[in-house]
Symmetry: C2
Subunit: 347 residues, 2 copies
């Protein structure tokens, strides 16, 4: 049984995933990824995954058979176990609990070779609805306090499988980064009686220098204090604390924003590895006036080493204004077209 252990000083929870345990010589330093389909996530190979927990299907198709458009299945090598009680307990001064949780894969398409950047926005919208439906289902389990929704794209960003997919992890705890954002947003609200994210959206929309794109419902910016080159933030313009309670219009707007943003990244940086993650308020908490859900994209262009991890301090060689200018130019030239020869462009 995996364990969840809490760092006593900073309150960070860690999964001790004993079942994934490796010998010291087994660490995969090269992060290899088998290239080319078909794979277990491909159309027709449904029996190679655990049985689906969700699928959007065409009429007349049966569960775990072809005919799906988006499909969610339990992770074959879960970091946490679904069965069991939280079992919170102390070990001397330390806090720990059983490693319970859900770990699922959302297969974004039956097509091995079509990533989100190249999808029809309607397909991306279905992926977002799948995220939502899984969160709402898992939120009924009162053991869980948070669902992390994330995507690793490319071997260097931690994706061990090439077929386009996202993941979710339902947790009995709130991850440290979310705790920090909740605390920071709450402090700001106490001071100003305004949502800090609403203020960011409003300042950025006026300033324009860090805006990549904007539609009626969403804004995409390179954050003022971006940690990474070409880091991006997608936020709904209307205040709302929970991703899973967004409106149909917002999911549509987000799917269009995501398509353009990922398309621009792919074109500008030659299909870079990236991660994205949705930050939302904890499950079942009432709508919050101070927290505002959003999606963070971090291209994995620079290696994160112990220095950054040990200090929480980042050195970013590309100011967000330069990244935004560059991505806007790519969008104006028509993202999804050919790769622009970047060497000829000044950054």
């Amino acid at each position: 049984m995996p364990e969840l252990r809490k760092d006593p000083v900073v309150g960070r929870w860690v999964i001790m995933s004993t079942e994934r345990s490796k010998r010291p010589t087994d660490f995969n330093k090269s992060h290899e990824q088998r290239k080319g389909g078909p794979c277990a996530f491909c159309d027709g190979n449904e029996t190679q995954t655990p049985p689906e927990v969700l699928a959007y299907r065409d009429h007349g198709s049966a569960p775990n058979e072809p005919g799906w458009r988006v499909r969610a299945v339990p992770n074959k090598f879960p970091a946490l176990r679904i069965e069991g009680t939280p079992g919170r307990r102390g070990v001397g001064q330390y806090d720990m609990m059983n490693g319970i949780g859900a770990h699922e894969v959302i297969i974004e398409t039956p097509d091995h070779d079509r990533g989100l950047a190249d999808q029809d926005p309607h397909q991306i919208e279905e992926v977002l609805w799948a995220y939502r439906d899984r969160v709402l289902d898992l939120a009924r389990d009162e053991r869980f306090r948070y669902v992390l929704i994330f995507k690793n794209h490319g071997a260097e960003a931690g994706a061990s499988l090439e077929h386009p997919h996202s993941q979710l992890i339902a947790l009995p705890i709130i991850p440290l980064s979310v705790q920090q954002e909740l605390r920071g947003a709450n402090d700001y609200y106490q001071l100003k009686e305004r949502c800090i994210f609403c203020d960011i959206v409003s300042q950025e929309a006026q300033d324009r220098s860090r805006v990549l794109l904007e539609n009626d419902n969403f804004i995409v910016i390179c954050p003022f204090a971006a940690r990474f080159p070409f880091e991006l933030l997608l936020a709904p313009k209307a205040h709302s604390s929970h991703f899973e309670f967004a409106t149909a219009t917002e999911y549509r707007a987000l799917s269009q924003s995501l398509k353009s943003t990922l398309g621009a990244l792919k074109t500008a940086l030659n299909d870079p590895p990236f991660n994205y993650i949705i930050h939302s308020a904890p499950l079942r908490e009432a709508e919050s006036k101070h927290f505002h859900w959003h999606l963070e994209i971090t291209p994995a262009l620079t290696r994160v080493a112990g220095f950054e991890v040990g200090t929480g301090f980042y050195i970013n060689p590309v100011p967000p204004e330069d990244a935004a200018t560059h991505l806007r130019k790519v969008l104006a030239d028509g993202a999804g077209a050919e790769v622009i020869p970047l060497k000829a462009q000044a950054l």
Copy 2:
């Protein structure tokens, strides 16, 4: 001029290092490192570095000439600039300041091929004194609030040069991880009127399962909630908040602990890439009852991707008790001897 920018939500400062700016295609994904000496840090090549700011030398040798044992020089490609005023200012709701600071390299030995694990403990002690002397010198500059002392070993841990060296960055701000530790330690002190690190040292010394080694003044443990396989914490047993005010006995004890620990890691994991970093209380602050300085070692065996960065949530496949057992066995067998064939050992 580089800039320091603050994330408005979580308070994390980031260096926008425009002078190190790269074109998008220039990101070095392979993290290559030129192998083999001699290099600019080697004996006889002193003129290839900026003039030294510190050197421990033999009698009769002149600055920037051979005859040194440990030498500190400004980084040739500094992330921050030493000249200028902090220039704290707002940009709308955002906070920023000029990217002032010191960025130095501590060359640990004239010998290109002898890493810390293979050094005489006396040489390691001199490296620690060099850290201390540089911190005390930089602390006189009231613009600086913190000095980060860290070491990247191996290309995968971010070391672009092979010659054994450490780095320090003097900053006008306190890095987020240190802020978090200060806050957590302070919260604990308010509750218990005890130092949380003293309590950790005492529980670990009694429990033994996570202790790698211990001498009169230091203890080396695999932390209870380690984020990484074989992560290690070295802490002085007597309470003390500032690294730079440690006693001569403590520097000697730390040098012996470091030698054994790095030797065990090198033997056990075949000279793995690693980072270490010293966490100390902010410069010029009075001795603190709640903060306790320490050194964190994080082997870079697993890649840190956007998931960890975006969540502050880690999955560690090697429980610290297993790592400690393994490293103790290596120490008992005589670290520095041959590499033990780990495949034959159960973890």
